[in-house]
Symmetry: C2
Subunit: 198 residues, 2 copies
């Protein structure tokens, strides 16, 4: 890979900061303008760096999109973890995990960007669907065939996605300012019913 870096990268700390700044600007651009409307040049301008530095860190627009729409480290693990433990409390744990993830400032900005980018970009939706499916299908504790598990995982995702869109992306009242306790009371039985197939 040819490196054509004209901007001299600073010391290690500053380099990480530059990469993070580029990634943040890329997330914003993919979310607002989609794949077609995003250029390396515009991302570089927004991040106030030379375009060559964007290529240096992220190689191509494809790789930049992939980095921008990768769930934050720890997030998918937290979903998998939520699926463990007693099946009878899965609804409760999955809703609590959702609320905790969006309450985390670092996760929130990435999750929001992924949801918005997914609206534009089929490849992002595909990767997101795979992540969701993989992380939800894991629990061997639920004794079902794969087709049935995918249906239930999809139903769980539909309720959690719609709630997250209204509460955190669209910020529509009264969902946006509903207490966490009320959200759990309302949603957990729905999720549990989808898990149980009742």
């Amino acid at each position: 890979m040819a490196k054509r870096v004209r901007t001299t990268p600073g010391p290690r700390g500053e380099r990480g900061e530059l990469a993070a700044r580029i990634l943040a600007c890329a997330r914003e651009s993919f979310a607002e303008h989609g794949w077609a409307g995003t250029t390396i040049r515009a991302v570089a301008r927004a991040a106030d760096v030379d375009p060559a530095l964007v290529y240096h860190y992220y190689r191509s627009k494809e790789d930049l999109l992939e980095a921008a729409t990768t769930p934050p480290p720890g997030f998918l693990e937290s979903v998998v973890e939520a699926w463990h433990g007693p099946t009878a409390e899965l609804g409760d744990r999955l809703v609590r995990n959702l609320l905790a993830a969006w309450a985390n400032d670092e996760y929130r900005v990435v999750l929001r960007s992924i949801l918005l980018t997914a609206a534009h970009d089929a490849a992002t939706r595909e990767r997101l669907a795979q992540s969701v499916t993989l992380s939800l299908m894991g629990p061997a504790m639920i004794d079902l065939n794969d087709a049935e598990r995918q249906v239930r995982a999809g139903l769980v995702a539909s309720q959690l996605l719609g709630f997250a869109m209204l509460r955190y992306v669209w910020t529509v009242e009264p969902i946006a300012s509903m207490s966490d306790a009320d959200a759990i009371d309302h949603l957990a039985p729905t999720i549990q019913r989808y898990v149980d197939g009742a």
Copy 2:
């Protein structure tokens, strides 16, 4: 209002067709590029008309956005109608109404565009939230105070929105190709529980 139409509009039928073509291009642009990324000039180019004609039909970018994100005639009425009839079957009727609306080619393209535009644009979300609230709050048959009704309407919206996003906008499997009968079986009890506050 000054009319600066350089393109000579054709006979009546053709005029309606031009306005519809402009509106379709505007919907596409607001959905893909948001408010900031949409220009009258680009909409005119996409519709293959003179920009003056866009101003002639829609006066301003604000009015064009409003026209592009107005629910199709008949849609809100169908939602209100679904709220009438026996309360015990509300869940069933609201899900059937959603499926019927998205099965209608004319509605589908407008609903999709509204959902995508709402991701970008706060004013569109606000209008959408008002539409949802108004159309869901109507039924005096549900004996509740306003705050409680808004919470329940919001929960109903969260499930229907999430399902519509996965099935029709993101087209994620197995939700996308689930039969209508299965969708009703899975979702109606959820919606009913939110209505009943059970």
